[in-house]
Symmetry: C2
Subunit: 435 residues, 2 copies
């Protein structure tokens, strides 16, 4: 395909959607990529780069001619350019910015200042705004000329003389308005905006709940700074979901299709080693009860069952709490109500599971007291574990730590400890009934 | 506010965004809700109902006058009406449909046929389509009149005389085209469509990757049946993420802010009881090694540590595999490569953790052979558990079972079993070195 036939390749390649171009591009060897850099314009390359995963884009920009690379950045949406630059090392970014034209460079520099995961870092500055005093007819003409460079023209924000946000008008409303009206008459002044420092997860919630296609971003004096479009928010939703999910499983990052075994191991080992030390604590706890174990070795049989059940129910309570915090549901209802509900849920599940296992153990081992001991241990362990599973993330949220860090395995390991303490505590108290 | 002052309440309430109206509405007591039903139009009520959680909407429709309720359904977007009807019981739905006007009822009936979670069930039939032979000017006029009833007019799909999908034109392109062109000249014929039976998760991936605001849904002969808009897809993304997340924690449904303790317990108990039986299997496995435990009671100390580590690493591998299957990444790369990578990752993490724990046990217990035993057990358990964590979901995917069902606690419990077998197996083999 691409041995010589440049025109044909260009024609076919550029017909594709940039997402597909990016997939093909990633499959190529470096020498072929170099040819592509020669035969496509920076603008065309920018489209491709916007559809490559941010974390994998670094080598491509390193192998490009720096002049070409900085042209590509200049042609990209400013928000996408910034996302990629956040992945590159600082010296390289600085050198691209110096080659770039003043105006483009300034735009990107401004965006690079905003903290990651805030409105400022995901907004784009390529938007069209209208003045309140314009006529509808004028506004349509303005949109027609600006359309090719803007991220969206379906929602246009209206500003006053001081660039303060005063309204919003959809293209839909614009085309059904009379041409001689002013924008002020045609627009809606109930415009919802977000502050530049707002967290991206909250913005995603808002856009989903209110079905917005775009949201204006303002500073503290209500000056319009940029807009966030729904396509960026879909990426945010995916990122946040994947984040919560990874943390529940205690891995730093679940998305790594191109990782090799070493990279995967590097992502998982830190958690495993921490858990290994926590697990050693459990072991040393049990060793305190060596005497009881020597007397009634059968006690050991139920250790994994009790610890496991406490871990399972803790993970369930944790997942509900973390999700509730993430969606803001818990703040609405109050934490006390949530805790009370979890305690009651723990009580119900504990009693049910406790009775079942009591029956199983009694029938299986023919030892009534052992059945009661295991049953009551499971019951207490489930109650405590359920409360711990919901309490720990709530406290972390209070301390402004991301509650998802209290991930599944941590809660599980903590609940292992608690449940074994309960089990052996009871066993030693009623030793005389067991022997 | 609402004791008598109906006009004022109407004015203030209806100024709000329907999402906020829904939040207020949900807080009211039944008597106040009844007043609202009297003072708002079915159309206004439809907007509110579209923003209430589908699972909580049932009581409201039951308490409404059936005539009013069916008018509300008729005014809703057909896709939202169907989502809600899927939550109501069949007799009630049938009675609403009989009161409704023929045309609206037919539209909803058609949609009710589609299987849940497919394109058919999330698409809306309120769209505008254009004929390829229309002039741009005509098309603009057509859009102006149809705009109020359509879900979106930003992307309009173009059909031929047989209602077959032949192209797409964005409002953006429409306003920059010359009025006397035909749609056929102005449109793009590279239109991406989805079949009515396609899974909603795949559609969400597509819309995110290609940054679409809308997608046309077609039948097997390419006839345009409906469209899917980005706001529906955001709900799908949330639902799917929450689904994967719930399953990783083994709860049927994580979203239940208004659940009481009994409902919560009912969602969690089935899983806990199944896990209780699986846990009893582990217990009965250990009981096979009672003799060894009687000889070396200290063996029991390390049971939770070994089982716990196997569970943790299994959960990590599981999360990566489930996510990889969900995003389609694994299908791209091939399962064999994935399995090979997981096995290598298991080997690396196993060796590292095994060596660490060997050191800890040796220093702590002063028993070299015990250290070696625990170390080698952890090493083998991690390798096997990592492979199991990724293998089980792959097999389930092959058997067309949703791999997320192999949720965290299941893998954990299975890995408990395997790791304990390894541990006691080795302990009995080398008993003479330990005693």
């Amino acid at each position: 395909l691409r041995n010589g036939k440049i025109d044909q390749f260009r024609a076919e390649f550029l017909e594709l959607h940039p997402y597909d171009q990016a997939r093909i591009f990633e499959e190529l060897e470096e020498s072929l990529r170099q040819e592509i850099y020669m035969y496509v314009s920076p603008e065309e390359m920018a489209d491709v780069m916007e559809h490559v995963d941010d974390e994998e884009v670094e080598p491509y920009f390193s192998e490009m001619d720096p002049r070409f690379a900085s042209d590509v950045f200049a042609e990209m949406s400013s928000d996408d350019a910034v996302d990629i630059m956040n992945q590159l090392d600082k010296d390289k970014v600085a050198s691209f910015l110096t080659i770039m034209e003043q105006e483009d460079a300034q735009e990107i520099k401004d965006l690079l200042h905003y903290e990651e995961k805030t409105a400022g870092s995901i907004m784009t500055t390529e938007y069209v705004s209208l003045k309140a005093s314009m006529k509808v007819q004028e506004a349509m003409n303005h949109l027609r000329t600006e359309a090719p460079d803007a991220e969206t023209i379906y929602y246009t924000y209206v500003v006053d003389e001081d660039k303060r946000l005063v309204g919003v008008i959809s293209l839909r409303d614009l085309i059904i308005s009379e041409p001689e009206w002013t924008i002020e008459e045609a627009m809606s002044d109930r415009v919802v905006s977000v502050s530049v420092a707002k967290d991206q997860e909250e913005i995603a919630q808002m856009m989903r709940d209110y079905d917005f296609l775009a949201l204006p971003v303002v500073d503290f004096q209500d000056h319009l700074l940029g807009i966030i479009t729904v396509d960026d928010i879909m990426d945010v939703m995916d990122e946040e979901a994947s984040d919560d999910y990874s943390k529940l499983a205690a891995i730093s990052d679940v998305d790594g299709p191109n990782d090799n075994a070493f990279t995967s191991a590097k992502k998982r080992l830190p958690w495993l080693i921490i858990l290994l030390f926590l697990g050693s604590l459990t072991a040393s706890l049990i060793s305190q009860f060596e005497e009881q174990l020597n007397q009634v070795a059968i006690l050991a049989i139920f250790i994994p069952l009790i610890a496991g059940m406490a871990g399972n129910t803790g993970t369930q309570a944790l997942a509900v709490a973390v999700r509730g915090i993430a969606t803001g549901e818990i703040r609405k209802q109050g934490k006390v109500r949530m805790m009370f509900r979890e305690a009651s849920t723990g009580l119900i599940t504990g009693v049910v599971c406790g009775l079942i296992i009591m029956g199983i153990v009694y029938v299986w081992q023919g030892n009534f007291f052992l059945g009661v001991l295991v049953g009551i241990s499971i019951m207490s362990a489930l109650i405590v574990a359920t409360i711990a599973g919901s309490f720990v993330p709530l406290i972390m949220d209070r301390l402004n730590i991301d509650p998802a860090v209290a991930s599944g395995p941590f809660i599980t390991t903590i609940n292992d400890l608690i449940s074994i303490l309960i089990y052996f505590g009871m066993a030693s108290a009623f030793m005389n009934l067991l022997v």
